[in-house]
Symmetry: D4
Subunit: 149 residues, 8 copies
């Protein structure tokens, strides 16, 4: 059994690297959005031409990013969504909803301070973790049946 | 043609009433989440028994609310999601993602200040409006072909 | 919003009547399996001819009952499955799995003594109740937003 | 043609090993739930933190196990479900219902004493066998067209 | 519960009338193909223009008939397919396969002499009956739970 | 049997009226796009605000029109697409492709001069007609089994 | 592009071998039912135990064969169904209907004498051929774009 | 992440080669229709026999081409549709509609002169480009996150 995992959400800490490194002995395949913030914001206009209006500037970029996001979520067995400490992070919650509607196994990475605000997202999840290593432990258990020592 | 519309998101202003009142001459049917904030928070424990841990208190409630939300979104032709000025509103973005994955026509109600934070949600929408009456005008045009004077 | 509800599982107590009576002021529609135990066991051979082998006797009946069960579950918004105190009740758990795979909102009615044995079924449910009246209260809340006094 | 097979149900005898060993010359791929009973019961709290309430202890574990079960059933061509002599085994019947709703080919392994209680599950199956080696013979016939001598 | 039933297959005897008349006290809705043999054969060319080649003559007609057949089967809860004594009746078996793939409840009406030739179709059916009145009895049981006296 | 029909394509002649009038004795329900050319072009900016760039002017309008088109096609049993003599009419062909992918019964109304250019669209259709009254005759035959005199 | 092809229907001539041999230079993968007539008839009782009643004897076998048939059709891009000169061949027409409902590309191999009886099956097909080598030529054209000399 | 891309539309310029060459360092897989115009027009009659009527000549060919087109679009993550300067190109718009209904990521390659005529197709696209190299840049960004210098 190979698990395909999409790592969605917060892009300002190294949580993706922690999970990928921690799971390097497991039969897993990871995908993520583009995590270069500047490239992600500007990809639309950089490739398809400038827009004077910021709305359309963002719109062109968000749609190109959607090509990758859709592919990543639709191919995933598990979608991990991390909510960080800052920003609105509506794209993270949007991905969680998208994944839930497709029947994907959803794991949420979040902190206690956001517990109440995330209750609808948590209700759709099969696990709510606080630390990236807990996600690794879930993957290890799901694939090998072994628990942390 | 009867349009079934789910009104998701912010529950602190009367935007739902404005739309429902404005559309009262149209062949539309509206559904919404429970908008009584207290009831929505406590429905789980009020019906199924108290939980000392706030996480499970919220969890039980969020799952009961999900019965209504799922039904409302799955039956809808159009899902309108409003993002207000306050709070994280992750449930609104989650509903938007859920609706998008099901191929529903999505209309977002949001303000300029959130434009950048909502770019992924906007990219999935068929219309981005600022005022509830614009939603009414969209419904009127879609059903009758008539534009605002 | 009209809720279509399928009442699956135990047929030896009046729990269905309690729910139907309790919900008589709500916009709900109920379906159930045939609850006449004898008719349910013998429908196959009574209509399509006797079978000397008990396996095929049961098989013919179970398939005719499946016509009703499938229709009931597939049309439902909510599937309520009650596990009683006696018997194996594998058909109840089968219905719960069938409903879960179709993405139906699942409510389980069960007692504490079966908690551990039902943990996988509970994990797929949006609510786990002990009393039929709790199911009525969930329906009332989902439809009207009002909680028990 | 490669057959992907999920082996669900009873975890106290070596029936899975018998099937896997018997089919070792065939183009098949097997998946199963975690069959270490203790790990399966405790995975939720071991990874995500203790719960004083047994319901939530079980709930957290059952949801993590669901990640593996869903993946296993959704990828399977054939789901084999074995009902043993003891316990309620509602998770086995739940898996059978889940598999049936997804249109998977279902094979049931059960004993005569449970024939009547399993009639609804049997009615959804393409084969009802008593011995693990019969499952191997079915797989061999389906893949190679050869019958037991 | 209203059952929508599509009556497919043989058009030379009054079996459809027997079922419709027998079920006139039940909450059922029946659909059928056009049973006027001549109209059914010639509808394509009568409406869309003559074809010198018999293949295309038949092709145009079969496609128009498919509009009705698809609609009838896709809306049905139950598809009843009768195999008569004469002709190849490949359209009946085609409808049965179409219905089976869509997960419809299939009832086959056939005679002993065709038992072996129909074994694959029977294997996909929830009931195999010989007489139209047995179909009525199945419908009555499914809707009302009552068996023939 | 009620047929729901979406009338897509050319908006400069009265072909929709001819079909609707001709079918007024039949159990049919018709939907169409907004056929007021000016309103259809300008709906986006009229409701949601002006765009200096013609691309976005058109984009906002086309997306609002998509709300109606999707609903019309997704609810239809039959999609009739008419190709007129002028313009590119790519939206008509787009609707035909959309309908085909959803498994809708497709009827094309076109003229001999476009036969070769439409061969891929014709290949996906269940009928290719030249005159609106032929569509009416198809509907009458499908619903009543009667052919034109 | 690799094409997966299921070869259904008549098992008394070497048409499958002709196609497989003719296509041996192409990027194709073939599957078929078990074509050993005796094994196909008796697989159920040979593996799962004798049945005195011929109906159940056949039923057990047909269901085991269905495991292979379903897998073969569901994985196929193209389903080729050959109707031979003899027998009812209802399983062939059933497979054609099953394939059509799943949206598979259907190729029918049949003779002129059966043209009228097969008109509904032909209407669902993307090609109607008379000779196995025509199927090979279709596969070669679809994969390589080259036509027969 | 491997992207599977279907290149649909105009066959008279070398745009496909430009994209395939430009993307030769990327993890992509391309499919296209048969681009030999003569073979594409005549494949039906060349393989399955001549037709005196041009409509059926074209029909037989278009259906064989549909085998390849369906497979190509259904397997694709991204469908690129190019509209050239000449001809009606209804098959291109048909493919775009087909892809949109299946939820594929759609990229349109078109020129300013067709902007208004393509507005419905553009509204369904995630990117509208003018040059083949822009498509390559989108693919590079989606796969590697890098933007053009």
């Amino acid at each position: 059994m190979t698990l395909n995992i999409y790592l969605s959400g917060e892009i300002h800490t190294d949580w993706r690297d922690q999970i990928i490194t921690g799971a390097k002995d497991l039969d897993v395949q990871f995908n993520s959005p583009v995590t270069d913030h500047g490239a992600s914001d500007d990809c639309g206009v950089a490739i398809l031409g400038a827009e004077p209006n910021k709305f359309w500037h963002d719109h062109k970029g968000a749609k190109i990013n959607a090509i990758r996001t859709r592919k990543g979520i639709e191919e995933a067995d598990i979608v991990v969504v991390r909510f960080g400490e800052k920003y609105k992070q509506w794209n993270a919650a949007f991905d969680a909803g998208y994944a839930a509607a497709l029947g994907k196994s959803l794991i949420v990475l979040s902190q206690d301070e956001h517990q109440h605000a995330l209750k609808e997202v948590h209700a759709a999840a099969l696990a709510v973790a606080k630390e990236p290593m807990q996600v690794v432990e879930i993957l290890r258990y799901v694939l090998k049946g072994s628990l942390p020592a």
